[in-house]
């Protein structure tokens, strides 16, 4: 965030934003967040990319930083593992909120709708890829399996192409 302006003025906030998010299915519990950080501490994406911070995203939504949130690439990084969801003491359901924010980003023209389509294809592909990789090693589950990930990926991709 170096170089960014360090002061946010409430004039640029949209107080309606939090109400809009919480009016959508999945966003209902947004506002009860008390910023404990459990979502962030358990997030596998945050572990890889510390700039990704679920607690901060919620805070930005609550403050009404509509433009910053919806234009941010952060809302696309969630891996939908539901760890945050499972551990949240206030039942905020961050994973669902991310889905709401993505929808809004499309609706409000921050991204092209094909991008969302693209993302869901990437999601489906990664699911299939995982399945293919599993199918490769499943037959050996009774043995001591050693894998070379790159090799496994190549084989899985080939299987996908063959289908």
């Amino acid at each position: 965030m170096v170089g960014e302006e360090k002061l946010r003025r409430s004039a640029s906030f949209d107080p309606e934003f939090k109400w809009e998010v919480s009016a959508r299915p999945g966003g209902e519990h947004l506002k009860t967040c008390f910023a404990c950080g459990v979502c962030t501490a358990g997030c596998p994406v945050a572990e890889i990319d510390p700039a990704y911070n679920p607690r901060r995203i919620i805070r930005m939504v609550i403050l009404g930083m509509r433009q910053q949130v919806l234009s941010s690439e952060m809302i696309w990084l969630c891996s939908t593992c539901y760890t945050c969801y499972a551990h949240c003491p206030q039942d905020v359901r961050f994973t669902e909120i991310m889905k709401v924010l993505r929808e809004m980003a499309v609706e409000e023209g921050y991204v092209h709708s094909s991008f969302l389509e693209c993302i869901s294809r990437v999601d489906r592909l990664s699911e299939s890829l995982r399945r293919q990789m599993l199918m490769e090693i499943l037959p050996h589950r009774g043995e001591g399996v050693e894998i070379e990930e790159r090799d496994l990926l190549t084989r899985a991709l080939r299987n996908l192409e063959d289908r």
Partner: protein, 1471 residues
Amino acid sequence: MAEAARVPVGAVMVVGGGIAGLQAALDLAESGFYVYLVERSPSIGGMMARLDKTFPTNDCAMCILSPKLVECGRHLNIEVLTHSELVDLRGQPGDFTAVVRTAPRYVDPEKCTGCGDCEKECPVRVPNEYEGYLSQRRAIYRPFPQAFPNAYSIEKSSVPLCQAACPSGVHAQGYVALLAAGKYREAVALIKRDTPFPAICGRVCNHPCEANCKRGLVDEPVAIAALKRFLGDWEAATGEPIVPDPAPPNGKKVAVVGGGPAGLSCAFYLALRGYGVTVYEAAERPGGMMVLGIPAYRLPREVLDTEIEALRRLGVEIRCGVRVGEDITVEDLRRAGYDAYYLAVGAHGAARLGIPGEHLEGVISGVEFLRRVNLGQPVAVGERVAVIGGGNVAMDAARSALRLGAREVWVLYRRSRNEMPAAPWEREAAEAEGVRFEYLIAPLEVLGGDRVVGLRCQRMRLGAPDASGRRRPEPIPGQQLEMPFDTVIQAVGQAPHFAQLASSFGVPVDSRGWMKADVLTGATEVPGVFAGGDAVTGPRTLIEAIAAGKRAAESIHRYLEGRDLHEGRQLDPVPLVVGEVPRGIPRAPRARMPELPVAERVRSFAEVDRGLDEEAARAEAARCLACGVCASCYECERVCRAEAVRHQDRERVREIRVGAVVLCPGFDVLDARGLEEYGLGKYPDVVTSVQFERILSASGPYEGHVRRPSDGRVPRRIAFVQCVGSRDVRRGRTYCSAVCCMYAIKEAVIAKEHVGDLETTIFYMDMRAYGKDFEQYYRRAREEYGVRFVPAKVQRVTQGADGSLKVRFAPEEGEVTEEEFDLVVLSVGMAPEEGARRLAERLGIQLDEDGFPVSPGRDPVATSRPGVFVCGPFAGPKDIPETVVEASAAAAAAGAILAPARGQLVREKEYPPERPVEHDPPRIGVFVCHCGINIGGVVDVPQVAEYARSLPGVVYAEHNLYTCSQDTQQRIKELIAEYALNRVVVASCSPRTHEALFQETIREAGLNPHLFQMANIRDQCSWVHMAQPEQATAKAKDLVRMAVARAALLRPLREVSVPVTPSVLVIGGGPAGMTAALEVARQGFEVHLVEQRAELGGHLRQLGWTADGSDAEELCRHLVREVESNARIRVYLNSQVGRVEGFVGNFRSLIRDHRGHTREVEHGAIIVATGAVPASTDEYLCGSHPRVITQLELERRLRAGELDARRVVFIGCVGSREEGRPYCSRVCCIQTVKCALKLLEGDGRREVYLLYRDVRTYGLHEEAYRRARERGMVCIRYQEGSKPEVRAEEDALLVRCYDPILGHSIELEADLVVLGTGLDPAPGNRQLAQLLKVPLNQDGFFLEAHVKLRPVDFATDGVFVAGTAHAPKLLPEVIAQAKAAAARAVTVVSRTHIRAGGVVTTVNEARCTGCGTCESICQFGAIKVDPERQVARVEPALCKGCGACVAGCRCGAATLQGFTEEQIMAEVAAL
């Protein structure tokens, strides 16, 4: 008189014996009501008894609790019912009938001395719940050393499952436990209560105990039979049978017909009772089926003979080879003069298949075959033997045939393997030895001419189930076969063979030929003739026969004593309580006996199973899970010298009449095992805060050394995880548990005191240090102790490979972090007590969704059922002082409805007349206290006691684990009598907490209470010289020597009795004062209520709403109306108290109004309720900008409807928690949330921001905070060092603050800024404090006598405090405290007299010059110079015994009694 019926019952039931129950009980009992204190556990004391230290003063919880326990326990008008539960409540307020169920304690508390001998002998070890399961205790136990009653208690969860499964009720868990403890002799004796044959049963019993064993649910059942066999063999090896001494011969004779297990057992138990018993046995040797049916390879003959021989030694005559009815007639027996008969002749007839060829040579019945084999009679066995049948007899016959040389033995069974009745282990052994099994086959005909040559058989299959539930075999048409055999053994059942005998005794038989007798008692139709065993039941197991014999012995005994045969006996199986299967038990396979190799087995009748050796047996016994807890081994009973153990105790139900009920059953801690991410139960070094309290405690499992449970190492880094199960809407409780923040700080601080270089980190969300002096404690923890505070909720705890615990969290700024710790403490929250919840439902008490009672109106202690009150954490999470306040408030509430019955049921204490000892030479007794390890861990206490014995005047000295415990008090009294002691010295702790207790004790022993002296060897020796045990011991000796020297010169002091003025002065007319006044008046006493302003109401007049959102104005009007209309309350408006004279029970005060008019009033007690004032500030433009206002102003505008702001920014902690006002004002956060909710009501979308340091919406107020967020309140934390800034720019008001989550500053435009400014102490406090001679704390609020246990008292007797004069608090808390103060004041004014004097000044008039110095010195006005005689006179009731006058007296005329010059000099000279 009709009115008489309306007088309520002058007794109250208090349910729950924690600190709340103790306080409520004491207040009520001191106010003239009789109290039943009902406690579910074995001791009163509750959770507080488990705590180490208390915040914020770091007092030892047990040290301050223990005197209360004793006071309550010994109070004449408090009846403590432990192990008890209130189960039903009928009637109405003033006249309830309470039904109380008392579970058995199994120890008579009246007889038990608490000596602990039983505990040492008890072989059962179970996890100790008191110690947080970090250590073990015995089944007979006392929860903690200071417990009241100081009696042991036995925990029995049910009859152990093994014992319940045994037909004879053999105490299997008991002997297994004794075996594990190495107590073999006791184990054998225990077995013999229920069977005379341990070695036999250990070998051949079918052991249903094992099938029932709870260990089987973990891995495999305990090898109970093998253990019993070990014990039986051990007994045999001693060469002396172990039997109890029989009763002396009673001259009566019993004949037992049949020497099998039933007959011999009956004979054994009759012989023990003193009967002369003769057993008539038809066979040549005794034993019945044990010898005739069971082959020697299973039961060696010498084992049998040894155990039967034991009967002969008991005097039982066994006549073998005598057939009753043939060799001797029934008439012969009758002539021999037997008083009763027991027929136990067994079932020795053989059932037949009824197929052709059965008569052929080579066909024999199994029963007959085994009899011949076992008696060593010739029996021909061919090459190929068929055994028909699938029972144990078939197995025995087959295996015996093999041993007799048969080449092939076949077992033919008509059903499948699954239906076979033989014990699986028998079948497996037969298989191993080479017996061949053919299933689903039925013989149709024995083939042969005159000798057997084979069998023609039918193939079978299984059809539909028959009556026995087994599938009925049916022939498969056309499938028949012939098999060659030369011997056929028919083992298809046993039959009666005793028709003749039965009829000659006149005993009828049933259609199948079995004798008719009552199965329970064994009684037949014929008086005096009893029958049992197989002869009555048909063939059954060995242990059933033994059980029948044992029961018959009881019946015959009863019959011959002319008693009822059935009373108290039943055959119905004991209900089995399997309970939870304990977790975390390491799997361990059961022990197996070595066996003789098969090759050796089949050639001889040598015993197959070779038994367990001692080591294996003890290890196996240790696998027992002790499912019944108490094993019923009766060791405690054996060793108890007081004969206090009562294993036969039963539950009792009592109906008790009371006028009111106070419920304070306490709370449960949340079971954090459900929150798996924290690893409780998975990692041993993750503990709960309750466990950590025990780890810190000197009396805890590690004796006060801070260690990790896993390896005993001293931790270097400890993490505290806050909000475990609290403030969690999904997996715990939505509310805040109110106490965890403070106890975590305390635990961190104390832990650091224990371990020098310890690092402690507290992970929290909001640090809720909201109580009086809490914030300062929090600051000290941070700044002085270096406790680290991290504002983050822990996401999970995992364990690394090296055993360290990794704590993962996201700090507000910076990256997600994982830190390593050695120990993790989970601050678990409070949950409503489970049993209490059920109780509330039974009593019709309405609960809210969290499980807390709904309090109607604004009464914090009322419930939905009139006459039933609540207090303590059951009414909502809270800490100790608030609990104590509520307890007193509940006492006030109960007292208000029972006032007409005051004194109705109470008893007065009578002391024995005082022994005149004034002129006797001193005979001093010295008691030196270990105080657990508090003293004893440092000071060599036995050495100090030994030393004391050598001091002049000392005739007795001893040391005690706890000199203050109930049993030691009793002991001191006994020793005073035994040694004619006339002075007592206790070397223990502080006289401040314990002197009164010991004085009371010696008073009960007939000594003047002032003949007592204390030496404080805890505070002054063991505590301050912890690292120098030798010097500490030397100093302790010095202190004892000084105390003894002084004690020798002590003189009895007299007290005077002064009448009490039954009225109360209440200073302050706000909500606290009004409530207190009303409560005192309701209890029937006069009140003078003084208010300095022109109207009542105080601070309440400025509030719009109370914290729960209800109308404050309405409440104020209501209170004022009630006060003004109460005839017992006299209100003085525009008035102040000008002068206060006198002392507890007898005050005289001057009330002055604004016109200068004065009036003197007399009263017995004073309640200070002068309130606090809202703080003002000039920070954040307050006062200079119209749109920066305080909370009160916001409330005023809201109520007036003058608010048009859309964007509102609240700032918390304005001027609070910092220099100048270091305390937290407690109410501001909750007020903010309350106002925010009002602002966010409706649909006009306001923007509301809260800039906070910590949001302290403690306890159930958390819900309002959650609701405010839900409705849109945006909350941003700021740090003490970077406060928000407010500035005005043209017409804009801008608030700037740094948001740590965002990592930016933000600037909020506001229409209104609202400041939470807190409360200041009332300006008049200092003056009033001087007037009343009571202290203020450093902040200027009134300082109570003790922050934990005397929250509304002052050190000065008869003066009490309530409301915000004490500290900032919310309205319901103010009301509770006002009621509490009223209750405490009533304990004074409800008395007719007060004793005064004792330690007071006297003046030697001959020496006094009347100079008046003393008069000017005495701040209590207790000394005045008599103008006529010119000598000083002391008013003893006013004298506080401070001694200032003595120091000031120039002529040495003044002497303080109990502190005379000569006493002090003796003390000093002794040093």
